[in-house]
């Protein structure tokens, strides 16, 4: 590498376009900023050497200079934009509707969107935003951001620090704002300087050469902004680790204690009770709206919960002492918080059955007193129940979530949403049993026109029992088992979140904004005065708002003989 010595004596790094000290265009380098055949100088980065445009020897330098190119950066952004746009043409994998024919992406896309969907899937667009190549693209934008910024900030900072008031005459005459006045008195010149000072310019004078400058810090705005962006990218990086971010969902019944997912079995939660408040249909304020809606509308749903922590370090699943950590009501906009986790009320399910009470009666004498009564805890039924009067009931089969298909009775899920039993009833002193099929209350309720997903059945337990299915398969039964009462409970849906990355996003966004404001609302303005034999040359440059700087120059040359600067760009046109 070789440095370039300017006529003014300053030694510039190779690749410099305008001498760092006096601003004289350096011969042979004018093509870099496209100054060759132009009347005006390109003032980008003050004509400093963007080093990467010059040294290209080792592989490190080659990689560096590749990323240092703004052109490369812009292309990376364009590619990412186009890819993101394509990623929105069809839904992403996680948004395949639940009722789709198949949620398997290999089937779904072709099925729903034909050949285009197939191509979409095979090119990996169904999972674009977490695909490795999209992440690499974003990462490369980050790299380009860092290197572009470093490569421009450092030389620009140095050049602005090194700039001298004395500038080469060709530097001045090739500025956009320029004028030359033949005869100027020392008094007039001083007047201009004072006026600029009054307009809060910093004056730097050397041998009659003057540099008036203000708002230099506005030049750092883009770099501050980039620091903010990089922090946001880093925060996104942190968010992809479970240490900083987890999101889980949990269903927990009233009275049930469950492990909180994602806590490595360290924390447990107990649902002490679920509260559902509804808007009052009889209240005049809500009446019309509720009628329009047609169903009940909750005004509040909340879980009263206790969080426990395992006090000893035991192997997962083993019984351990639980210590109460906190107790709170989880409501909309009122999550339960503990040790960095937040538990939000996210949903609920009504009408899971908790307990069922049955009575036994003689079929001949249906209106008489029941002969025996028994209660089954549906979440944990026993195999048999010994009753008063010598009756014994065996549960032959239990369907927690009953439905009937062509092959017979089935259960749809493990949850007691529609419990149905096949009982074997042993009358007193008898080895012969009778078989009864009892349950399917939900079908009974729906047959009555009740929307069982929206209406709480708990107050109706007794009534619904009377409408329950009750089959006597053989038609020879002497006794009838009927539902006396039912107790329903509710299941609370909670989402558990931990997000320690938010403060980083906040800081990044704040710095980003500071950078934007810094670069947008201030301008870097410079005015140069170069004495000639009897008069002076006046030139000015700003990075934006040329109108503003012209105004200030106009103010400062008021009542002097000095010519107003010409806007040479306008003259060009």
């Amino acid at each position: 590498m070789k440095n370039i010595k300017c006529d003014c004596g300053h030694v510039n790094p190779e690749g410099t376009v305008l001498c760092e000290s006096c601003g004289k265009p350096i011969e042979g380098n004018q093509h870099i900023d496209g100054n060759d055949n132009k009347r005006l100088l390109n003032m980008r980065y003050d004509g400093t050497a963007r080093r990467s445009q010059t040294y290209n020897k080792s592989i490190v330098d080659k990689i560096w200079s590749f990323f240092s190119s703004v052109k490369v950066g812009v292309w990376l952004i364009v590619i990412a934009l186009v890819a993101s746009a394509v990623g929105t043409i069809f839904p992403q994998e996680q948004y395949i509707p639940i009722d789709a024919v198949s949620r398997d992406p290999a089937v779904y896309y072709q099925d729903a969107y034909g050949i285009l969907g197939q191509i979409y899937y095979q090119l990996g667009f169904h999972n674009l935003f977490s695909s490795w190549w999209f992440l690499i693209l974003i990462a490369l934008i980050g790299v380009s951001l860092v290197i572009c910024s470093l490569d421009r900030f450092v030389p620009l900072y140095k050049a602005l620090k090194k700039q001298k008031p004395q500038r080469h005459h060709s530097f001045l005459s090739r500025q956009r704002l320029f004028s030359e006045t033949e005869e100027v008195t020392e008094e007039e010149k001083q007047k201009v300087i004072n006026s600029l000072k009054a307009q809060r310019y910093k004056i730097n004078e050397e041998n009659g050469h003057v540099l008036a400058e203000k708002g230099r810090f506005s030049r750092w705005g883009p770099y501050v902004n980039h620091i903010g962006l990089i922090i946001i990218l880093l925060a996104a990086l942190l968010r992809s680790t479970p240490l900083f971010y987890t999101n889980e969902y949990l269903w927990v019944r009233e009275g049930e204690q469950k492990v909180i997912p994602g806590t490595k079995s360290e924390y447990f939660i107990e649902n002490k009770g679920f509260i559902l408040d509804l808007y009052d249909e009889n209240d005049d304020r809500f009446k019309a709206a509720l009628e329009k809606q047609g169903t009940m509308v909750p005004s509040n749903f909340q879980t009263n919960a206790i969080v426990y922590k395992q006090s000893e370090d035991v192997v997962t699943g083993a019984e351990a002492q639980l210590e109460k950590v906190t107790e709170d009501e989880i409501r909309m906009n009122h999550p339960l918080e503990f040790e960095g986790y937040k538990i939000y009320q996210s949903g609920y399910q009504l009408n899971e059955v908790n307990q069922m009470t049955f009575t036994i009666q003689e079929i001949e004498n249906e209106d008489g007193e029941p002969l025996a009564e028994f209660t089954i805890d549906v979440t944990d039924p026993k195999a048999e129940y010994e009753l008063d009067n010598g009756f014994k009931v065996e549960i032959n089969e239990f369907f927690p979530d009953f439905y009937l298909d062509s092959t017979g009775p089935k259960t749809e899920t493990q949850f007691p949403r529609n419990p149905t039993f096949i009982f074997k009833l042993y009358p007193p002193n008898s080895d012969e049993s009778e078989t009864s099929f009892v349950g399917d209350v939900i079908s009974a309720a729906e047959a009555l026109g009740i929307n069982t997903e929206a209406v709480e059945l708990n107050p109706m337990g007794e009534v619904l029992g009377q409408f329950a299915t009750n089959l006597d398969a053989t038609g020879e039964n002497e006794y009838k088992i009927s539902i006396q009462d039912m107790d329903f409970h509710r299941v609370s849906g909670l989402s558990i979140r931990k997000d320690h990355s938010l403060p980083f996003f906040g800081v990044g966004a704040l710095i980003f904004m500071i950078g934007v404001v810094q670069g947008m609302y201030w301008q870097h303005r410079r005015v140069w005065i170069r004495p000639t034999e009897k008069g002076l040359m006046l030139a000015a440059h700003t990075n934006k708002n040329w109108f503003g700087i012209k105004k200030e120059i106009e103010n400062s040359i008021e009542n002097t003989n000095i010519k107003m600067v010409d806007d040479q760009q306008e003259l060009d046109e």
């Binding site: 990462a139 990086l237 997912p261 927690p400 259960t411 899920t413």
Partner: protein
């Protein structure tokens, strides 16, 4: 600017070296960050234990009345191949594969393979009746708090892990197994 030529030259070399070090360091740091981002993204559900990982230990109550063990602890089976199955009585494909498991169990138990079928979210009654129906004899741990299913992050059922005698997950299968497949996987986890 009054340096001697030599001084200037050595200065230049020093500058050049510093620049090289600076650029290398910055590029290396960014490369590490990118690799980390990619790995952690692919590992997004990295609480899921996958093929090649050590199977995490757990301990649960055993509720198969045909089996005399009261408490199952996975680490007790080191040295044996373990088929760790997650199932429920209400899940048809689970029900379909159970008879195959029972069919192979006595034979492979002698060869050093244990079947552990963790039941999720069921009632004891249904599990008992299911066991009677299929005359199952292998241990059935009962995970009614969802602890082990959270540990293994079980999604669809059945899910089966085949664990080698030294505790490493050799295969993870989501969905039902046929007799042939089951035997094939057993070959992979047979102790020496």
């Amino acid at each position: 600017m009054c340096m001697s030529l030599d001084e200037r030259k050595s200065n230049k070399i020093k500058k050049k070296r510093n620049r090289f070090i600076f650029r290398t360091v910055i590029l290396a740091v960014m490369l590490v960050a990118i690799i980390y981002a990619l790995v952690s993204n692919m590992d997004k559900d990295n609480t899921i234990y996958r093929v090649g990982d050590q199977a995490p230990d757990f301990q649960l109550e055993q509720i198969n009345h045909n089996n005399e063990i009261e408490t199952i602890r996975l680490s007790d089976y080191e040295g044996k191949g373990v088929m760790l199955n997650f199932w429920g009585t209400w899940c048809p494909p689970c029900e379909a594969e159970m008879p195959y498991m029972q069919e192979l169990y006595p034979k492979y138990k002698e060869k050093g393979i244990e079947i552990i079928a963790v039941d999720l979210n069921d009632t004891r009654l249904n599990v008992k009746q299911f066991i009677d129906k299929y005359e199952l004899t292998f241990p059935v741990p009962f995970d009614n708090k969802g602890v082990v299913s959270d540990l293994y992050k079980i999604g669809p059922m059945p899910t089966t892990y085949f664990i080698s005698p030294d505790g490493e997950i050799v295969e993870k299968v989501e969905g039902g197994l046929t007799l042939e497949k089951l035997e094939g996987y057993f070959q992979e986890i047979l102790p020496e």
